[in-house]
């Protein structure tokens, strides 16, 4: 009973935040530049959280996440631009297509471990990118012009859905199975957990939400090109997760917000931009080797406060 009360509390809070931003946007207090930054932030949060379930929860080191972003982006763009179907349908199908790609990629590769898995996922992401590069239907190297259809509502709902599903999954029986794989795969296997099955499930869920982010990404930036989804994009997402703290959902969210703001702000200093950005990463990793949040969640911090209070 207490649990549901807390849940609704946060649901209301989320709604209030959504409404406040929406009002600020419609009255023009937040102009297109900041609106774009907020949407970019939402996209990055979705990407970070969707990779968190693969790396942070299940412990599978995947560095091909941009591939699923690309599938979501291209499939949704084809649906709206070529087939002229509505945007919500495009988001759904883009995400499902990415999940499908995740399944196809996941079944053979998730039998691998560590470095081998990393290289296999990187390879698959490149294959996905090269397929789009050589498909004239989606514009090949020149890319595909996409209608601007995204807005704050889609981005916000996407983030809420992503966090809700992934946090609930993590706390479910299946999530605990995934965590046990992260902690010790052999032990998990010995306890009767079907490790390959759970790894694939986590991978498919992660791909689904990466595809969701891809659909919003494609409809927010006017053009998608295969070069956008190169392995550097995968590393950007990986950085959010590692910087936030492997295993911490709130950490990856905070890192995604933090780095989006840093990157946007540094656009004013073109000469030193990449140096400062890199320095920020190095300093954070030096002083917080386990990431901003370590394996803790932001809720843990409040809990410690409460415990201290009752004592």
């Amino acid at each position: 009973m207490k649990k549901s009360k807390v849940f609704w509390g946060y649901a209301v809070l989320a709604l209030v935040i959504y409404a406040v931003v929406q009002v600020l946007i419609s009255t023009g207090a937040i102009d297109i530049y900041y609106k774009n930054m907020l949407i970019t932030m939402c996209i990055n949060i979705m990407l970070a959280v969707s990779l968190h379930i693969v790396i942070g929860v299940t412990g599978q080191f995947s560095i091909g996440h941009a591939g699923f972003l690309a599938v979501g982006a291209y499939i949704s763009a084809i649906i709206t631009t070529k087939l002229m179907l509505p945007f919500p349908l495009a988001i759904l199908l883009g995400a499902l297509a990415a999940a499908g790609a995740g399944l196809i990629v996941g079944i053979p590769t998730l039998r691998l471990k560590g470095d081998y898995l990393a290289i296999a996922t990187l390879g698959f992401a490149e294959i996905i990118r090269i397929i789009f590069l050589n498909t004239d239907y989606v514009g090949g190297a020149a890319g595909m012009q996409v209608k601007y259809l995204s807005n704050w509502t889609y981005a916000f709902v996407g983030v809420v859905l992503t966090i809700l599903v992934i946090s609930n999954f993590t706390n479910s029986r299946h999530g605990r199975a995934c965590i046990s794989i992260r902690e010790d795969e052999i032990a998990a296997d010995a306890m009767g957990i079907n490790t390959t099955y759970y790894k694939v499930v986590a991978f498919v869920i992660g791909s689904f939400f990466a595809g969701l982010a891809g659909a919003i990404f494609a409809h927010n930036f006017y053009i998608i090109q295969p070069t956008t989804f190169g392995f550097l994009k995968s590393f950007d997402i990986l950085i959010y997760v590692v910087l936030g703290g492997l295993g911490s959902l709130s950490g990856s969210v905070i890192a995604a917000i933090f780095l989006t703001v840093v990157s946007t702000y540094l656009a004013n200093f073109p000469e030193t931009r990449m140096i400062i950005y890199s320095l920020v990463l190095i300093i954070v990793m030096l002083y917080r080797p386990t990431g901003l949040m370590g394996t803790k969640e932001i809720t843990d911090l409040f809990k410690f406060g409460k415990k201290g209070g009752t004592k």
Partner: protein, 409 residues
């Protein structure tokens, strides 16, 4: 047990906390730049009625193609300095505001929005590459701020691919891809008198594909035969297989549209395989790195079409070369420098003729430009917002680009 129940809450809390943080960050920045804009406008007044005219530059200053964006920026800075030293536009100084777009489409979109909403620019230099420029076209149209790309050569920047309508606020200083292919084909059939040609194009680049297509059409119309067509992909390093296949067809001439990194190796390997026929490319070859990769000797008997040549004896060009060398430590300006320089003069000329800094008036003036004499050629703007201007053909002799001829459209 109590602990595990509590753990379950964190998901929904996260939703709230992350969004709150996002909102705070957004508002915080809004406040910052608002005050920043305020202080600058108290100094110079707003863009339309103060004594400065703000022109944005949304350029690739870091990332994959940083060298293109930086070169455009250097040229643009020189032009701004010259205009300001000569009294500005109707007494108003130009202020160039540069923003980095990391060579990424999404960043280019954000940079365009920043320049329009935070810096209140009256016109913008658009990114150096086509994809990044396309990412800003819609924003320019929506906000009625004209953009001019120095080197974005794809046709779909100024003309909407789907319905063929012109993007009202998008302009360019360079010629479009197909034009270079036509010039190269005409040069090959008229000047070099070749009949059997081969094409070796970068399959991963739209630029190369566009050039290859228009070259093929024109050379066929001129009565030439395509004896071989091979392709490579950017970042390849060994081209001997394709080159051997081309060699077996005995072409008199090989057209190689592509970028200097691969072309340098292609030229070197072609010469090693004993292919001594003329090779030709386009502005993608224009880099000092090409000579380093291919070697001066291998580059003999190769030609490129380009926007301009620093060797061109014309007075205007030599003046520009001299001024650029003075400003940049004796470095000879390349085509991107020249295009950046010209783009600023193109915008400045339009603002002057428009007599106002209103986006709509500047747009109309840009579209009406006729016989404007610039470093990369005298040009007029056609109904698709593309300049009609000359292309220059250069020949490599002992590693140096030597001016060969100018070709009119």
């Amino acid at each position: 047990m109590k602990e595990s129940k509590k753990l379950k809450k964190f998901g929904s809390l996260l939703v709230a906390s992350s969004l709150l943080a996002g909102v705070l960050a957004g508002c915080g920045n809004g406040g910052d730049s608002g005050s920043g804009g305020g202080s600058s406008s108290s100094g110079g007044g707003s863009s339309s009625d103060g004594d400065t005219i703000k022109i944005g530059a949304n350029l690739e200053l870091s990332g994959n193609v940083a060298s293109y964006g930086s070169s455009i920026g250097l040229g643009a800075e020189l032009a701004v300095k010259e205009i300001n030293d000569n009294g500005g536009i109707d007494g108003k100084k130009i202020e160039l505001i540069k923003v980095d777009n990391k060579s990424e489409n999404a960043e280019a979109t954000a940079a365009a929005m920043k320049l329009i909403t935070q810096d209140n620019v009256v016109a913008m230099l658009a990114p150096a590459t086509s994809g990044n420029t396309v990412a800003t076209v819609q924003i320019a149209n929506d906000n009625k701020i004209p953009i001019v790309t120095g080197s974005g050569t794809a046709p779909n920047i100024t003309v909407n691919e789907d319905d063929g309508t012109v993007n009202e606020y998008a302009f360019r200083t360079c010629f479009i891809d197909p034009f270079q292919g036509i010039v190269a084909a005409n040069f090959a059939s008229n000047e070099l008198d070749v009949k059997n040609v081969a094409i070796f194009a970068d399959n991963a680049s739209d630029y190369a594909k566009g050039l290859a297509k228009s070259f093929k059409e024109t050379i066929t119309a001129n009565g030439g035969n395509i004896v071989a067509e091979e392709a490579y992909v950017a970042k390849d390093a060994d081209f001997r297989t394709q080159l051997t296949s081309i060699k077996s067809k005995n072409p008199d001439f090989i057209f190689i549209p592509g970028y200097y990194e691969e072309v340098g190796l292609i030229v070197k390997q072609a010469r090693e395989l004993g292919i001594d026929v003329p090779l030709m490319g386009a502005d993608g070859w224009d880099s000092p790195t090409l000579v380093e990769l291919a070697g001066a000797e291998a580059l003999n008997n190769t030609y490129i079409t380009n926007h301009y040549s620093a060797e061109d004896p014309e007075q205007k060009i030599q003046d520009f070369v001299k001024a650029f060398k003075e400003a940049n430590g004796d470095k000879a300006p390349d085509a991107f420098n020249a295009l950046g320089y010209d783009s600023i003069y193109y915008i400045a000329d339009a603002i002057k003729r428009a007599g106002s800094t209103d986006g709509e008036a500047i747009k109309d003036a840009l579209a009406d430009t006729k016989d404007l004499s610039l470093v990369t050629g005298t040009f007029s703007v056609d109904e698709d917002h593309n300049p009609i201007k000359t292309a220059t053909v250069l020949e490599f002799k002992d590693g140096k680009q030597v001016f060969n001829s100018k070709v009119n459209p």
